[in-house]
Symmetry: D2
Subunit: 458 residues, 4 copies
Amino acid sequence: MKKLWGGIFQKDPDVLTQEFTASLGFDRRLAPYDIAGSIAHVKTLYKAGILKRDERNRLVSALERLTVSLRRGTFQFHPECEDVHTAVEYALGKKVGTLAQKLHTGRSRNDQVVLDMRLYSKDAACALIGGVCGLQRSLIAVAQRYNDVIIPGYTHLRKAQPVLFAHYCLAYCEMLERDKARLNDALKRIDVLPMGSAALAGTSFALDSAYTARLLGFARVSANSIDAVSDRDFIIELLSALSITAMHLSRLSEDLILYSSEEFSLVSIDERFCTGSSIMPHKINPDTLELVRGSAPEVFGSLITVLALMKGLPLSYNRDLQNDKKALFYSCECVQTSLALCAKIVATLTVNKKRAGEMLADERLLATDIAEYLTKKGCPFREAHRVVGALFRELRTKRRTSLGSLSLKELRKFSRYFERDVFTLLDVKRSVSCKETASSTNPVRVKRALTRWKKALS
Amino acid sequence: MKKLWGGIFQKDPDVLTQEFTASLGFDRRLAPYDIAGSIAHVKTLYKAGILKRDERNRLVSALERLTVSLRRGTFQFHPECEDVHTAVEYALGKKVGTLAQKLHTGRSRNDQVVLDMRLYSKDAACALIGGVCGLQRSLIAVAQRYNDVIIPGYTHLRKAQPVLFAHYCLAYCEMLERDKARLNDALKRIDVLPMGSAALAGTSFALDSAYTARLLGFARVSANSIDAVSDRDFIIELLSALSITAMHLSRLSEDLILYSSEEFSLVSIDERFCTGSSIMPHKINPDTLELVRGSAPEVFGSLITVLALMKGLPLSYNRDLQNDKKALFYSCECVQTSLALCAKIVATLTVNKKRAGEMLADERLLATDIAEYLTKKGCPFREAHRVVGALFRELRTKRRTSLGSLSLKELRKFSRYFERDVFTLLDVKRSVSCKETASSTNPVRVKRALTRWKKALS
Amino acid sequence: MKKLWGGIFQKDPDVLTQEFTASLGFDRRLAPYDIAGSIAHVKTLYKAGILKRDERNRLVSALERLTVSLRRGTFQFHPECEDVHTAVEYALGKKVGTLAQKLHTGRSRNDQVVLDMRLYSKDAACALIGGVCGLQRSLIAVAQRYNDVIIPGYTHLRKAQPVLFAHYCLAYCEMLERDKARLNDALKRIDVLPMGSAALAGTSFALDSAYTARLLGFARVSANSIDAVSDRDFIIELLSALSITAMHLSRLSEDLILYSSEEFSLVSIDERFCTGSSIMPHKINPDTLELVRGSAPEVFGSLITVLALMKGLPLSYNRDLQNDKKALFYSCECVQTSLALCAKIVATLTVNKKRAGEMLADERLLATDIAEYLTKKGCPFREAHRVVGALFRELRTKRRTSLGSLSLKELRKFSRYFERDVFTLLDVKRSVSCKETASSTNPVRVKRALTRWKKALS
Amino acid sequence: MKKLWGGIFQKDPDVLTQEFTASLGFDRRLAPYDIAGSIAHVKTLYKAGILKRDERNRLVSALERLTVSLRRGTFQFHPECEDVHTAVEYALGKKVGTLAQKLHTGRSRNDQVVLDMRLYSKDAACALIGGVCGLQRSLIAVAQRYNDVIIPGYTHLRKAQPVLFAHYCLAYCEMLERDKARLNDALKRIDVLPMGSAALAGTSFALDSAYTARLLGFARVSANSIDAVSDRDFIIELLSALSITAMHLSRLSEDLILYSSEEFSLVSIDERFCTGSSIMPHKINPDTLELVRGSAPEVFGSLITVLALMKGLPLSYNRDLQNDKKALFYSCECVQTSLALCAKIVATLTVNKKRAGEMLADERLLATDIAEYLTKKGCPFREAHRVVGALFRELRTKRRTSLGSLSLKELRKFSRYFERDVFTLLDVKRSVSCKETASSTNPVRVKRALTRWKKALS
């Protein structure tokens, strides 16, 4: 095994131990960050007078060539290396010989791995913000395309009140906007350079961490070396933000699976995002959305993994911390793909206007409007609620479907506040238009919101 | 059962259903917020011309009296009310009669309960920030009291390098500072008024939500009514922040339990925070810290509860959401108490200087300094690491305890870079002082940090 | 504070510490078990010659009176007692004076609390098994009531194949049967007496644990005292079993919420298990089922709490273990009530036969039967699948709804294996009857299964 | 993309959808089980008269050749296949041409994947039981090797009472024995054949599932086809059992990390299971144990993933279920390796007898024995507890270390029950030997237990 330690050891490590402790299988994702960090470290060593100009140049040049081979897919991860740091130092040695032995001066894998994870997390968070914007754009586009369509709004999966389809879409835009805000807030705490902390106490080399931070584009430098190597808050915070995003996507998936079912038939999902059955020839199943919904629990699992991992660990670094990696990598990758797929599915969604119209024929959707009507006529709201409840109970009992089939006289048996104009309420367009509050589904408000969103996302 | 609905129902609810769906047992914590929200709602109804001045005055006055009775502990939660909203409306009815029937105009419990939860969360987050500051102050105080004490720093629970005890304390201050930042970021998304959203579509009453927000001190108004009643992100975000804080406290607890064990004997915990055994008369156990450590999993459990609760829920409101409450209340209360107890325990901590000195006698703590010394003499770091490893292996094999017992000649068998001045390294004070980086345990740096913290927290 | 220790302490405990470490608020549920355990302990002390006959009699009699007062609700839990054990010993002291000081001979709270938790868990597991049987009986009853009703079976929430409603109900009976088996398996590991283990090492009193086990009805005695006081496996195992049960109930709830939606209209839920809206007068919402669905995450949260609690705890007892209690109590209570409510809801369910018939009119439900028909005629299944897929694609493209509207000639363009008898397939009754496998929805098989279940549950 | 469906589709699947829904990357572990299941399926088809003898022979022979190529590592998983089932059917087609099109007769991937997962789970559970036995054997061996060593037993990480090191080891044997029992119980519910259930309704081919079960060695056949394809209880149950095992290993790891720390120095871990530091040349860290401890949270995360995945899923099969696979595979592999490593580490553990002796010099370890002594002399236990507490408080206050330094007269100031023979208590060997209860650390009992274990595990 290639390793960065061993002088004090009298025996070679057990083979199963080598396999079990090795992380190269998954931490190779960190290679570009490890190399970038090493380049900055070399420059910092030079600035501190620890490397000569020539040494710096040879090391930087060799590391840059490693970056190129990584991009080209020709980088050799030596399978005997226990981790990405060892693999990079080993590959560097192949290029520059014993000079590579100077690379690790003034740093430890304890601060180095945090650096790599922070660089990865910055990239991932930025890419995720981009993915969220992509889905928002799809939502705006479909909302725009069907901007005059009214659908039943649901509470408790029961028809509640008419709402604009666009208003429904914008609800998800709002959720996603918070997701971006959380990612941006997480970035503030990700964007901290841990170098200079070495193992846990700092180093006796006069490394200018502020300079390293500038080279790597970090906003700040860790203030405390013990904290710098022990801290995984930034990973938990990213996983928390991703858990909420994944939860949002699971709700969107659930809605679309329901709305596209034969029973609802309110929307259609493009069949490019569906798959079939190996036995039932007629099946066109919304598998992609089901897997998006089923990804949220994986992200929750990763979050709880890292929290339980950290629970009760003494300071400073413990090897348990290695198990933060798979949890983070898979969650970032999974949510990123889910966002991209949802964006595609939403962008190609078809809304069945005719079916929406049929669903809205149920006058109970207007019950609240009628209660508010009575209130405006002078009836206290709580009483109006009772009156309208009783009215619909009567219709239900007598299996009469329409309020319009009642005469004003019949209505006035329920409440003296009913007047002739009550029948104008039986119109779903009027229902959405009569809404007056800022966050409501009033078409004027929704149109304004759409314009605002388009501008913000362009 | 007292309830705010029922007109359409033909049967009374099943008794077990009433018990199971009732939330008054735990949501009574929301009563002060529910009343405050109702006062602002009444004023908004008046501004919109829905209530007359006299009606407003009677309602506000009665609600204010309810607040007073709540504070005095004389408020009667009618046990037949299913939730806090019903209990408040019922109590109001007892004071103002049928006028109370006008209170619920233009709002739904769907937006009302979110309002209450947001007001609660704002208060809780602010109190938690105060609690975090309190613990930071204790840490600074004890760091100051023992500002010249050096202790062994640990990685993998093995002695690593000497660090200042104050530097160790400041590591926790850094963690806690991030906790505050996260709570402050969460507050930005908590601080949003959901009123005007009513059930899910908004309302036909022209309620000025911006006015309501001003009355209640909210920074913003919800932009989308469907989102407003479906969203529990702010609760999950608060639980995420609390999970990290609870995790930090579990690590502090673990450290203090370890360091105060008979085997470490590095610190003593005031016995006022310990309890004894019912059978073993000699026991003085660190129960408080164990329970703080054991509280973190409870907060993690609450976080996963609310995430799994939301997974796959269709929009908008579903009754499942009720199960966010106990999770939030207990977690806030538990972390708040844990913070207060940790603050007290840290403030009364005793550090055993003599024992610290004994623990530092192990020269392996200086191995890294020696490797860095060799590097400064010209030996590439990777080789220096091997040399020092081999040196300590030799000492270990020959059961020689001190490097100081070797002659320079013997040392030079390991590396030609050793010179006479190597023996000056065998001093832990020198070890911390020689650290050069910004985040290091160098006493000058630590002193500066202490001063900065004291100022920031005063 | 009343406490069972203190001799070695020089100071009184901090007030907040007392509050934080106290468990009487929730562990009072253990009082009947604590007293029963104490009675058995007294008898065991007598058998070992540690108590005199008269002492035994006075103690047993007083403890029995405590049990009576507990049942009557007149037992006084002294609020200053830190836990249920202290409260019982204190109450005993009020009855028998200093003799109560002999009660704790040869035991520790470490083994005593495990005893109490095991007795509680036994009772809870048995009650839960009863609750599961109750729900099974309801399922059988409703299956019997609608034993000839065919409904669409779903995969991916898309209509798949016709199945008997009774077959669907029996699927849940199978799940619940496994739940019972798991609870019974858990009982084997719950049913172990920990007494005799004392603090962790056993005791020098010659207590006959086998005798204590007989008195309390335990099947076995702990084999190792260190394990006996450290082990909480039985609680985790019970929470695992409950998590699966709660998950099953969440699926049943989801199904019933969906099937009773206006869009499916396949079943109706009795309105006694629904509640209404405070603003929308027409709403009849399936709140009970939503809360059952939303209870599963609470049980999952409790499970993860206890697992994370135990992670990395050194042997033997640590105070962290106290946090197993709320997790267990709430989960048992919550699942028990959920089972009872589901039993009531299922028992009163109405199936809408007419609507079922309409839903089955979709001939795609028979696509698989047609493919199997072709296979029986000699067409390899994979080809038959393609043929039938293409056939339904054609119908879909041409917006023709019925296969019956095609001539045999037209059909044979798709496959030469089609013959005249293909049209007999277009009958859902035939579809269920033609199923041949043991686990299938064939009415003969289902009827047999129903008979078997009725017998097993009677 | 190679797929088992598509006839009804008009468009090809989206590329990202193909990648996202593909499972071949991880479900290839199922290939041997998929082939074994297919062989049994072919034989069952033949028995039902659906395949001719010649067809059966050709298919079985080709499938057996695939098994061989799999074992040899030459099996070609065609990268365009979406899952293992498709890959196997595709590979079969390469060998037998169109005959392969008959393989999928009377089955669906819905029952097939459950079959594969059940076969995998059976193998995994059996292997895990073997792994648990291996660790138990190591524990017995080390207990035997140090069978006369007494160590301090801990509660709250404070010295409690002397216990035999062997007794401590046997505590873990007990825990592991329960782990085996749980795995065996889980096996009962794993050991069920789902075939014959097809998509969800059964099939019209007269497949004899009991025959298939015999061929594959299953104890039972699924009773209900809808349940058969929807059920993932067996996976959750296995993950629950593994979570508890992983938790046990995390406690063992914690103990060994603590006991091998410089401060405890009670045991030494063979350095083959340790790794070093990249910067600190002296470090020999217990990384393997730290990673074992850090594996438990990963298993917990997998458990919560599958529970949250299933929450609220309607019957029957949904694609979300695919996400059970990685959770199960990684957890089985991880715990299996952890068990093997712990077995090696325990087998090579060294106990430092001299250090154990020093640690036992603390007379407080005997406080409980003294209280029990007083009780035997007639002092009620609660009073004896107070007396001994006060006695040790006095010693502590006066900084006197040994009870032996007090005269009997001095002792009798604390209690008149003290007699000359009290001084014989000051002996740890006597302390363990005086224990009388069945589960106690009494050397006679422990020896007997050791013998019993050795026999059971041989």
